[in-house]
């Protein structure tokens, strides 16, 4: 239950650019697995964020400017400021039974994928990583992954500012032909994840694990803001990682989400 009680920590390091920053906190030894998230509260603005880095002592969250809360954090939070942290919350990517991973991170979905790749490389599991973003600077925080010998990393950008131009899904075919992938882990815009999953299904029937995002108020499974239609599962407590085969039975997957007031908004 201790993970449900908010505790505040000073941020001791801030990296990134004007649109996206990574905030680091010294939290000590906590059992955190890739795919899990925290509720971050900065000056009474709170949102869920996936863990993008954890080394057994320090935790990092990579935050993209999207709405008022993230804008407030990115423009105002500086080294020495306190954030309230509640977590780790939710489930995680299944890693134990697999040996060769394809990881795909689109946009700020790169955050949990980065942590997952770090984690897999640490336990010497082979992972091929595809990152897609609108511009290359948004993926700068992942560049050190290339130095891990278990990881192969490729980048795709909309504006051709990085290695390859185009959609992150362009890289899938080559990896599936080259590697004996036994699971795929995805995080990013839902439309991208659907295109990617359909492409993967044409080649192989390996399990596809998808990390979902929905508006959350509590993050701990009781408010009901993030429940998926019609399967009734809570993204915060039953997820955020779900099997693709389960997700496609949800009528909102790739189609709509709900806002803070519970109203439906189409993607």
């Amino acid at each position: 239950m201790n993970n449900l009680i908010e505790k505040s920590y000073k941020t001791f390091r801030v990296d990134g650019c004007t649109d996206q920053k990574t905030f680091y906190f010294k939290i000590g030894k906590v059992d955190i697995k890739p795919g899990q998230f925290y509720m971050l509260n900065y000056n009474n603005s709170q949102k869920p964020f996936s863990v993008s880095h954890y080394d057994g002592e320090n935790i990092g969250f990579t935050i993209l400017k999207r709405g008022n809360t993230t804008l407030h954090m990115i423009e105002n939070a500086k080294i020495g400021d306190y954030f309230g942290l509640t977590g780790p919350l939710g489930n995680s990517f299944h890693t134990e039974q697999y040996t060769n991973f394809l990881l795909i991170g689109g946009g700020v979905g790169a955050a949990p994928i980065y942590f997952l790749s770090e984690y897999l490389s640490k336990i010497n599991k082979k992972n091929s990583v595809l990152f897609g973003s609108r511009t290359s600077s948004l993926c700068d925080f992942t560049h050190n992954l290339k130095s891990n010998k278990s990881a192969t990393v490729s980048y795709y950008t909309d504006d051709n500012s990085g290695e390859n131009q185009g959609f992150v899904t362009n890289g899938i075919e080559e990896i599936l032909q080259k590697e004996k992938i036994d699971t795929v882990c995805l995080c990013g815009p839902e439309k991208m994840m659907i295109v990617a999953s359909e492409k993967i299904k044409k080649f192989t029937s390996v399990p596809i694990q998808i990390s979902m995002e929905r508006y959350m108020k509590c993050g701990i499974g009781i408010c009901g803001s993030c429940v998926l239609d019609d399967i009734g599962l809570r993204v915060c407590a039953d997820g955020p990682v779900f099997d693709y085969e389960l997700l496609i039975t949800s009528k909102e997957f790739g189609k709509y989400h709900r806002n803070s007031g519970g109203l439906i908004e189409k993607f």
Partner: protein, 304 residues
């Protein structure tokens, strides 16, 4: 539970009720919770028009419970009709539509705009402690205003109406009696206690944006048990007893002091939605052991 329980003229197949405000935003969520063993499902309080609620953080956990100030966010009546219809069509649970209004007339209008085929019972939420800045004291804090809301709501529907009361008024039995006299078919008790406050010890800021929030969870069980005890003595209409129930023993105590049905909200945080199945099975075992009928247990404390 092999037999049905009649409450305010409505048959419940199981004796646990999902409390308002928990997993009650969407139809899918309420259907799923009913599958965890809830016999009645109360939706998040519906207001006539869309309400955004308070900015996050709206909920914080402490060692013995939770404080929350969601601030009565609601999708408004039209959307709520659709969500409740989904529950009605896809679940055997009794649908309790919780409604909220800033004025007596708003309660009436909200009920009138609800499609009466999508719910079985109306619950008047006159006891939310988290919107005092906006609306002043809750109606549940005075017998006069509680009975006014009840009387005006009565003219809006022929379905049973129950009233959710606050433990924050010193004499809850008096309020319950005023509601009964104004035509209430049942009482739900209790809403959250307080409000309470939690402080971050590094920033010295309150942990909720709203600064204060209603207290729920194990910490409030004794208050809820006492409140239901008092209400049972004051009225003849049936009671849904809730507040801090997380274990079978808690629910048994609640029924023993007079609750016809027990309710769970924050308890889901500790045991998931299956808490209803667990408690229902536990009650059945207890009754067998004691060689009691369910109806014998309701209010047994008062017969000693």
């Amino acid at each position: 539970m092999t037999h049905t329980i009649k409450f305010a003229g409505v048959n419940f197949n199981r004796n646990g009720v999902l409390a308002s405000g928990i997993l009650g935003v969407t139809g899918s969520s309420m259907i799923k919770t009913a599958q965890g063993g809830a016999g009645g499902i109360t939706c998040k309080s519906i207001s006539k028009n869309f309400r955004k609620g308070h900015p996050t953080p709206v909920l914080q956990v402490f060692k013995h419970g939770v404080i929350n100030a969601v601030g009565l966010s609601s999708t408004g009546v039209d959307n709520s009709n659709n969500e409740l219809r989904n529950v009605k069509n896809n679940s055997d649970a009794v649908v309790i539509a919780s409604v909220f209004g800033g004025t007596e007339i708003e309660f009436k209008e909200t009920i009138e705009e609800l499609d009466s085929s999508v719910y079985d019972i109306i619950e008047l939420n006159i006891s939310c402690p988290n919107v005092a800045d906006e609306f002043g004291h809750a109606f549940a804090n005075s017998p006069h205003s509680a009975s006014n809301v009840m009387r005006i709501a009565r003219s809006a529907t022929n379905k049973p109406i129950i009233v959710k009361l606050s433990p924050n008024y010193p004499n809850i039995g008096l309020i319950a009696k005023a509601c009964e006299d104004a035509g209430a078919d049942g009482i739900t008790a209790i809403n959250t206690v307080g409000p309470g406050m939690l402080i971050d010890i590094n920033t010295f800021q309150p942990k909720l944006t709203n600064k204060v929030g209603g207290v729920s969870g194990p910490a409030i069980l004794p208050i809820a048990i006492r409140a239901v005890y008092d209400i049972y003595k004051a009225v003849t209409i049936p009671i849904i007893g809730m507040g801090g129930i997380t274990e079978v023993e808690d629910a048994i105590q609640m029924i023993a002091v007079g609750a016809q049905l027990y309710g769970v909200g924050t308890g889901i945080l500790y045991h998931g939605i299956d808490i209803f199945n667990t408690i229902n099975t536990g009650i059945d075992e207890y009754l067998r052991e004691k060689n009691l009928q369910y109806d014998d247990l309701v209010g047994i404390v008062h017969k000693q």
